[in-house]
């Protein structure tokens, strides 16, 4: 009797558990023309003009298109515009609009839609207060349709603006982009389940014939990289970007291709230039010498990153100044000597405020603390949540040091804009009149070569001033299921799904 009861209990427990596994082993997303992309940031904003977070951009890149569009090599190509004419003083841009493009709601794209969209982005609509939704488009004075073309007038000449016309075009008068996004992109917005997924479906009327291949794309929210990794191993995700090498190495090579590419991001050990003792050039230089960028990359990215010594990623091509490479090779003795010169032979204590949601930055801070200790600097790590970091560190600049990655942009001006003393993005409180002067001059120059030269000068000044410690351009490592092909890694924070197709199972 007793044994009978016991065995029944055990049997039922086993049966329950097994049925559970059976339920779990049912795989989603295979054997069909769909793909699942793992993302670690919760998407929230689907309006192409108010979108701020990179994580949102990642998804709506597939829904909206601008007049111009970047490709995976970082080249700017015509998209909804076929052509642009820029006046000599660079104050008037005239776009020719592509024919035969349909919005997701079925209406045709025409100049009026473009005018509405650009005006909305620049804050020029009648119901707006003049504040640009897309801050970079603030210089726009007026947008009007002329003979089916769109003429954009700027407040002053600016040769740097074309890259911002990638901003999404929406139908004229449409104002419900947040809840029901409508664009011209290869995929239509289907649904958003907060904290779980965003689902996009194929745009049958996409203007590039034959594209896209997939019927459905699901962007699935994973709590963090490790959660995504477990899902990846379990086969419930097809594509997962932003892995580290050591994590990617754990994946089954027969099931996943590992793609890597520079991210065009600049990971910076930011030093607040206006607080003691970081306002001392020698101290900043000492810190630069104390750091081993190689070890940081080794620890945080398992070697998958490009060492940086200046404010720009080598991915920026000719704008990047190669001559600055290796300026601050690790040299503990020199660092100590510099500290002694600055009067800190016994070192000092500082805190490093890092956003806890970014494992890579926290890990970097941990490594940095260990390295700084070798030259006598005690760095205490203070983790704060993202909101507090934005508030305290970025906006109010109440911090000593921090680690953060400055997001990618192809526009060199955009990358260096924050080093102007008055810039709202100048959270390191850097101030150099020469830099301010150069940065003011650049938009007025049309000649690329001259411009490049000026950019190099700025970079040199930044490095000379050791304004902060530039660490790395972390490689984007993406795992893609072997059943998919055609996935291109962008050096930007986007997922282009238009070329992806299912080949195997």
């Amino acid at each position: 009797m007793k044994n009978l009861i016991k065995s029944i209990v055990i049997a039922s427990a086993v049966a329950l558990t097994l049925s559970g596994f059976a339920g779990c082993s049912k795989k989603t997303g295979t054997a069909n023309n769909n793909a699942v992309v793992g993302i670690t940031q919760e998407p929230g904003i689907f309006d192409p003009h108010t979108v701020v977070a990179a994580g949102d951009e990642e998804i709506i890149f597939n829904v909206y298109e601008g007049l111009y569009k970047y490709d995976s090599k970082g080249d700017l190509n015509p998209c909804l515009a076929t052509d642009v004419a820029i006046s000599d003083d660079a104050s008037v841009y005239t776009f020719t609009i592509r024919e035969g493009v349909k919005f997701h709601d079925g209406s045709d794209l025409d100049a009026a839609d473009v005018v509405y969209s650009l005006k909305r982005a620049a804050g020029l609509l009648e119901n707006q207060d003049g504040t640009a939704l897309v801050q970079e488009l603030d210089p726009i004075k007026d947008v009007k349709a002329v003979d089916g073309k769109v003429e954009v007038t700027l407040e002053s000449g600016n040769t740097e603006l074309l890259s911002y016309f990638t901003t999404g075009i929406i139908p004229e008068g449409y104002d419900n982009c947040q809840a029901a996004p409508v664009g011209t992109g290869p995929f239509k917005f289907e649904s958003y389940n907060p904290g779980q997924s965003v689902i996009l479906v194929k745009n049958e009327n996409y203007w590039q014939k034959g594209l896209p291949y997939l019927d459905k794309v699901t962007f699935k929210v994973c709590a963090d990289m490790d959660a995504g990794l477990t899902e990846l191993a379990a086969g419930s995700i097809d594509i997962f970007p932003y892995l580290t090498t050591d994590r990617a190495n754990q994946l089954d090579k027969s099931k996943y291709n590992i793609l890597s590419n520079g991210s065009n991001m600049v990971q910076i050990f930011a030093l607040n230039n206006s607080v003691e003792p970081l306002n001392n050039l020698k101290v900043r230089q000492a810190i630069n010498y104390a750091v081993s960028r190689k070890d940081v990359i080794s620890v945080t990215m398992d070697g998958a990153g490009v060492e940086l010594t200046t404010a720009m990623s080598p991915a920026m091509g000719s704008y990047y100044d190669k001559s600055l490479d290796g300026t601050f090779a690790q040299d503990v003795e020199k660092a100590k000597a510099l500290l002694a010169e600055a009067g800190y032979e016994n070192g000092f204590n500082i805190t490093c405020t890092v956003p806890s949601s970014y494992l890579i930055h926290v890990n970097t801070a941990v490594e940095l603390a260990s390295e700084l200790k070798a030259v006598g600097i005690n760095m205490e790590i203070k983790q704060v949540d993202w909101a507090t970091w934005l508030d305290k560190v970025y906006t109010n600049r109440q911090y000593e040091t921090t680690v953060i990655a400055l997001t990618s942009s192809y526009a060199p001006y955009d990358v260096l804009d924050r080093y102007q003393s008055a810039s709202s993005g100048n959270f390191i409180n850097y101030k150099n009149d020469k830099v301010d002067e150069l940065m003011a001059k650049i938009p007025t120059i049309a000649d690329t070569k001259e411009k490049t030269e000026l950019y190099h000068q700025v970079l040199k000044l930044l490095t000379d001033d050791a304004c902060s410690v530039y660490l790395q351009d972390p490689t984007t490592i993406t795992a893609v299921s072997t059943r998919l092909e055609g996935y291109n890694v962008y050096p930007m924070y986007v997922q282009d799904m238009s070329q992806v197709k299912v080949t195997g199972n």
Binding site: G20, C24, E42, V52, T131, Q196, A227, G235, W386, D391
Partner: protein
């Protein structure tokens, strides 16, 4: 059953419930009113201008006095309309409702496991206390008690994936899509939460049954010639159940809390993840909504366990 005589007791408990809820709401609101960080700034990001931030602040009603905000918040939360999430720009009730199936389902399954496993084991163990089987059960129980649920989850994942090569993580299916699959994907995480609670419930039930078996009325029943089984079913178990009701409600509340962590390990889209993301995004309406409703569920559980105890135990009256 003499329920009329207990009317006063029920009313008293109900008043207690309402007062507790009011206090809970005050605590929740107070906690979130002192969170550092500017909500509007967080929502708009670092690039937004001061004017935009001010505008949003007004739109969100963050410039109103604290008392006004409390009462409008309380009204909203009590009418199950707790406002709009800053971060998701959606109704908080809707957001929570979406996540509830995971958390509630996991807790329910875990509870069923606790009862299904601990109850028979406790009965068997208590039949012959001190015997080998009983001692083995007790020692295993203690060890299980000491393993944090998330460590158990890690081990279970490792075991399931490497030993049985079964997929265990992240295949969440909504109950409306595939109910069997939904139950299936929650089984392992539920088991991880249930493990220490099985141990706890086993220990309590076992000692309660042993205690009841030694009681005077069992001796009376024996002297009346009742069989052991009959005594167990008709006297011992009902009496130990009465004393277990409170423990069960505490276990349920613990399970609810435990699910918040375990769903992180299993990457399930439950309230725990919503909570953590709400914390990091300073999403006050969402955060307070989650915390309040979770507390609400717990208060309700305690209330129900009191009522249940009062119904099953004729001795309970308004003291």
């Amino acid at each position: 059953m003499d329920l009329q005589g207990k009317a006063g007791y029920f009313v008293g408990k109900l008043i207690e419930l309402l007062v507790t809820l009011l206090l809970v709401s005050l605590l929740v609101f107070a906690a979130f009113s002192i969170i550092p960080g500017d909500t509007a700034r967080v929502m708009l990001g670092p690039e937004a201008s001061e004017a935009q931030v001010d505008l949003l602040r007004t739109q969100l009603g963050l410039d109103r006095p604290l008392a006004v905000r409390y009462f409008s918040w309380l009204f909203g939360i009590l009418t199950f309309n707790p406002g709009t999430s800053y971060a998701y720009n959606m109704n908080v009730g809707e957001l929570i409702a979406q996540r509830l199936p995971v958390t509630v389902g996991m807790s329910a399954i875990a509870m069923v496991m606790v009862i299904l496993i601990s109850y028979p084991l406790a009965v068997l163990s208590a039949r012959k206390p001190g015997r080998l089987g009983d001692q083995v059960c007790s020692v295993i129980g203690h060890v299980l008690f000491a393993i944090p649920p998330y460590v158990a989850s890690l081990l279970l994942i490792l075991l399931a994936s490497s030993v049985f090569s079964l997929v265990t993580v992240g295949n969440y299916v909504t109950p409306s899509d595939d109910f069997i699959g939904y139950i299936g994907c929650l089984l392992l995480p539920s088991f991880a939460i249930a493990l220490p609670k099985i141990a706890m419930s086993f220990k309590f039930l076992r000692s309660s049954i042993i205690e009841q078996r030694a009681s005077d009325y069992v001796r009376t029943s024996k002297s009346h010639g009742l069989s052991d089984l009959k005594i167990l079913v008709r006297h011992v178990l009902p009496n130990s159940n009465v004393s277990s009701i409170t423990i069960i409600s505490i276990i349920l509340s613990d399970i609810l809390g435990g699910s918040l962590i375990v769903e992180q390990v299993f990457n399930l889209p439950g309230l725990g993840r919503l909570l953590l993301s709400a914390i990091s995004r300073r999403d006050f309406p969402l955060l307070s909504g989650i915390v309040f409703y979770l507390a609400f569920i717990t208060v309700l559980l305690y209330f129900l366990s009191d009522i249940l105890a009062a119904i099953t135990d004729p001795r309970i009256r308004l003291k």
